[in-house]
Every structure is written in C-alpha cells, then in structure tokens.
C-alpha cells in the first residue's frame, strides 16, 4: 500500500508477457498474430554482432513476414535517430514494429511507433498523455536486465539541441507484447549486465517507496529485490543460465512495479545528468541511490522491515537495524554490478551540480517521491553522491 494514502485508487495495466529461455524464436508468431506483414526491426550493432538480430530475422521470416532492419540506435537514443527511423519506417511501408535490445533500442522503437501513427517531432509528445492516436502493433524483446521498457508506459529520448531527456508517459506507449528470452543475457558484456541489473534495483527500490505504490506494485518490487539479492552477484561472476534468468525476471518485475508506482528522487536527478553527459543510466542511479535512501528512510519507516525482508534479511528481533541491513545489502549489490560509486567518476562536473538540482525539480519522478524535497536538499544529495 502507498505510504500516505493506503486506501488510494490504483490502476494496473501490463502488456501480454511471454517469458522463457529460447522463446526469442516466437517473435515471428507474435508479430504475425498482431496482424503485421512487413516488420520494422529496431536494434543495435552489438546485438547484430552477437547473432540475436539474425535469430529474430529468421523467426520473423519463418512466420512469412518481410523484415526491414534499422540498427542505427545508440545508447540514450537521440531525437535525430528516431526521426531517421520514422522516415525509413514510412518509406518502407512497414506495418508492425519489433524492438530488440536494451532500453535504448526499445525506447527508439517506441519513439518510431509514436511518430509512425502520430507524425510530428518526438519532442511534441513530452509529458503525460500527449499521444492521441494508437501506436502500430509493437513487440519489445529486452536483451538487458534493467530497463523495464518492455512493460512500461514510458519512453525516454534525448533532445540533442536542448541536451536534456524527454520523458514520454502514456498508456499507448506500452507494447502489445513483451517477450523476454533470458538466454540473450549470455552475450551481454559484463559492464552492461552489471549496470542494467543496477538499474532494475533502482526501479524496484524507488517503486517500492513511491507514494503511488499499491499491493499490485509492491509484490513485484519486492520480488525483484529478492531475485537480485539472491542471484546478482553469482550471475555476474559465473554467468550461470539460472542466475541470468533470475536477473531477467527481476527486471520484468521491477518494470511492472515502476510502470505504475513511478519513481523518486534518484531518477529525478538521473534524468538531467543523462541528458547533459550521455552517462550510463544504471551507473548514475548507483551513484545516487545510497544517499537518496538515507534521505528517504525517515519517512518510509512503515515499510522498512518488509523492504529488508525482501532483500533477504531476517528482521525479527532486529527491527532497530533494518536500515543498516538494507543499506549494506544494497551497497553489496551495487559493488556486484561494478558500478562507479560517485558522480565524479561518471564525468559529472562539480560546477554543474546546482544546475542539475534545479533541473531535477521539474522532473515528474518527484511527484511520487515519498519525501517532499526542494532544490537545496537535492543539491545536498548530489554533493554527498559526488
């Protein structure tokens, strides 16, 4: 239940979810089932080299579909990449979109889908519920374990002229089908495995303490925490398929949680940092999370014991130490992800901190933060995370 309004109203809407090892082969039947004939496949070069693009193309072609590949997507996908993709989508006469990749490829696929049925510039759809025509059929296949874009109502695109992130939130933006094949994690480089799992951790934590949380989101956030506490370290060290599958599940559960409960201060601060420096989103959250938690703990006491329990602690008789227990485990998980632990190491300039605090004040994520904050407090968190 939410912290401040336990009897609140809540909505919960997730796409059809298909999850399992080896299931990437089913993407063809999914796209066909949605009525598509010509698929616009949005991915990136890394996945092409790892062979997953080829696997997906074979599945799509095997289902009798024509495929156009668009793999000119970079991390923190840029407005001009969306625009170029949209032109190509129209020129090719495609009628269904498949996104294969991490948050960048999936958000690019969402961006192209938004323009595909609505036209204009991606910046036109900034904010909440600004999309008025339903998107073309959309299947998203995550190949990292953090973004949650495959189940969420969000897309985040970089506005390169303003050097900021554009957040688009709309029920239209969730895909028709989310298809996760955890086997794709086997070729994910260590750095991205760690940073995307850290991103899932940040989603689960912020969704859990959000004032818009409900039992519908809490069960998913808590499950994500439990899976991460159980398998994150081993997955990075040994890369056993069952541990990797746990990370995929953790990401899925965290996505279902934050898509409805939304997020908090860490993500509000991560948005302007991502916009200004093109920094790794998971790493930015890793640098911020401990200080954000120390800031939030005084107002979330009611949920702390369950939070520590979800992270694997036995809190019975240890109620006084739940904050320390939880922080220690989170520190441990952030270390497991090999995340740089300070903003300084992510290229953030100290003189930019006041401007970052000011920009974060406008971010939608602050609306669901458990603790009301202001520019001064945000600057304090940034400084302590520097």
């Amino acid at each position: 239940m939410g912290l401040d309004n336990p009897n609140q109203h809540c909505k919960f809407e997730v796409p059809e979810i298909i999850f399992g090892r080896g299931l990437l082969n089913q993407v063809g039947s999914c796209a066909r089932r949605l009525g598509g004939k010509k698929v616009f496949l949005v991915s990136d070069e890394g996945l092409f080299k790892a062979g997953w693009v080829d696997r997906v193309m074979k599945s799509l072609q095997g289902a009798g579909l024509t495929v156009v590949l668009y793999d000119q997507v970079t991390s923190n996908p840029k407005d001009h990449e969306i625009d170029a993709g949209f032109r190509e989508y129209v020129a090719q006469g495609a009628d269904v979109i498949v996104g294969l990749g991490g948050g960048s490829a999936m958000d690019a696929a969402k961006g192209i889908a938004i323009l595909g049925s609505n036209g204009g510039q991606i910046q036109d759809y900034r904010g909440v519920d600004q999309i008025h025509r339903p998107l073309p059929p959309l299947v998203l296949c995550p190949t990292t374990c953090g973004t949650g874009s495959d189940v969420s109502q969000f897309a985040v695109i970089n506005d390169t002229s303003e050097r900021c992130k554009v957040t688009i939130m709309s029920r239209c933006v969730a895909p028709d089908i989310s298809l996760t094949d955890p086997d794709t994690l086997e070729t994910l480089p260590d750095e991205y495995l760690g940073s995307s799992a850290v991103d899932a951790l940040s989603h689960a934590i912020e969704a859990y303490f959000s004032i818009a949380a409900s039992t519908l989101t809490d069960v998913n956030a808590a499950q994500s925490l439990t899976l991460l506490a159980k398998s994150f370290e081993n997955a990075v060290k040994e890369r056993r398929p069952e541990d990797l599958e746990d990370l995929s599940r953790a990401s899925l559960h965290a996505g279902m949680a934050f898509s409805h409960a939304l997020l908090g201060i860490s993500h509000a601060l991560a948005q302007p940092i991502g916009g200004l420096y093109d920094a790794n989103h998971g790493h930015v959250n890793a640098a911020l999370l401990p200080e954000v938690l120390r800031y939030d703990f005084p107002v979330v006491e009611r949920k702390l014991s369950a939070f520590a329990t979800a992270l694997g602690h036995n809190t019975l008789g240890n109620e006084k130490y739940v904050q320390e227990m939880a922080l220690e485990t989170i520190d441990h998980l952030l270390d497991a992800g090999n995340a740089p632990r300070s903003l300084r190491h992510l290229g953030v300039r100290e003189e930019d901190l006041p401007d970052l605090a000011r920009r974060a004040l406008d971010d939608v994520c602050l609306l669901t933060s458990p603790r009301q904050t202001d520019q001064e407090d945000l600057l304090g968190i940034l400084k302590r995370s520097y």
Copy 2:
C-alpha cells in the same frame, strides 16, 4: 517458480485493472472508452436490491450511454440463462457488456459476450481456445471477493441437461477492463462474504502449488494469502472498510495467480460437485482443501516454508512444523468464513462419491496439480472430506 520445471516458459496477461473505493462511478467512462453506445448490463436481483445496479446505471447514463438491464442470473449460472441473455442482447442491439456481481453474474456476462460475437450454444465453447472471434467490449465489476472472474481467462457455466459444469478457457474470455470497488462488499450478506473469501483462499493455495506457477503468479498468490491471513476474520466480524478492501485485493491477486497458474485437485473435485448439486463453490472448496493439502504436502516441500511465511508465520528455526502451522491457519480462515467443513453438510450423497471421483479425473485442473493422482486417491480425498 514451478515445482517441477523452474525454468519453464510462462505467459502472463491481465486486463486493465482499476481498483479503489468509490470507483464504481467510473464504469460509465470505462464503457464509453471501449467504444460502446448501448450497454447490456448483466447483474442479479440481490445487487439491484442493494442499490448497486442503480449506481452503475446512473454512471453509464451519465456517460451518455443507453442501458439495458438483464438481471435474470442465478448462482452457478445456467446455460438457458446465457441463451436468454444472448437473445435479449441481440434483440436490443447492444454493443458493450458490463457484468456486475459475483462469479455468477460475471460468468454469465462472459457467456453472453461469447455468444454475442460467435453465436451457437455455450456448450460449443467448452475446453481450451475454442473461441475464434473476439468478444464485444466487456467490463467486469466484482461485488464479491472470491471469484477472480474479472481478471481470469475462465468462464464456468452449468449445463443443465448434463448436470455438469462447462469450463471455458480462452484468452478472449478475459474482459477489457476489471473494475473493483471494494465498497460493494459492505452490502454483501455474511454468508457470501465468507464463502467468496474462502474461494479466493482456495485459488491462492492451488495456484501457489500448481506446476504451472511462476514468480509472476507466486507473488500474487502469496500476497493474497497474506491479506487473507491479516484481514479475513476481522472483515467478517467487524466489516471495517479497510478490512473489506483487503479481501477485495486478496481476491484480485488470487485471480491474477490462478488465471495463469491454473488450479489443482480441490477445484477438479469441486467442478462435478457444483454441477451435480448446485452447491456453493466456496463451501465445496472449503470442505476439500484440508485433505487436498495433506495429500499434496509431501510433493511441495520446497515451497512450504514460503507458503507458511505468506500466511504470517515466522518459520525460522521452525522448519519442522511448517505443515502444521500452515494447516492451522487455513483451518482458522475456513472457520472465519463459517464454511461447513464437510461434504456431507453440503448435500453431497455418499453413494455419489465414486462417480464424482471418476468425473473429476477428466477435469483440466488436474493437469496442474502438483501431485499426480488417480481415481482411487481422489475417492480417498472425497471420503476423508465427507
């Protein structure tokens, strides 16, 4: 994760869920959003007398929609009621269906919707995936706390000539929108409050131990158990709104779990009993559950500790006693629901037991039972529950 195939594939698909006290007033905007102009409202006399039908009609009319009321639905809805409803739906030229009530009204609404776009007899759609045309827009509003029909892929109709229950399972059968207003429980008679919460308990338990369970269903089953353990007794005794809301949530979570994990022996046995005697479905499960659990426990050991924890027990250091702990709590909850605790008291005739065991053998619920069973063992469970 499932008991026998922890790395299995899983699917998860739920309707749009809207949940909160007072939200029945939003049914009009929901029906309009789905594109309807003339609403076929399926409900029953009890809800009419309690004033909820009037509330829903006002909301629908306030949204500019015309409403046709069909309230000739009885418990364990009958094939001829579906047929009569379907004829009325066609005669009136309605284009959206709203089901308001317990499982009976909602399953009747589903049945009318199936015939509405597919024609024929309801028996034609028995079994898995026998529906080939999408249903008319459908909004379901549960007013009891057990059925889960508002989120599930099932409809159960009584075949009055064969005196058996017809189970229809198809992704088409889930509604577009599930809208729960827990305030509706305030007028639910004690008997139905208890028996429907017992039904939710049986859904949560059987889904939790199903071999098709995954983390996606387990989190919901466990949350349902936790809410029932916390609030069931008080809700029945004191009827405080916050406890009633917990029961509504428990039913919703259990529905999300069993719609995907399916059920087990208790429901396999409950189906022929319901078909033969028109007995209260929750009460039938209450009579069967303890013996089914004793039968299943030896093969579900891996999940027993988490099961007892979900029911509110501290299992640390008490691993040897988790079965006893869990059974005691379940006994307590069944008592709280004032459920008759034996088949004898539900009108079941002792001489029918062998036939009931034989009929249960064909039930789809046995496919996901954690323990493989046979007619002899089923008869044993029936005798011990008599």
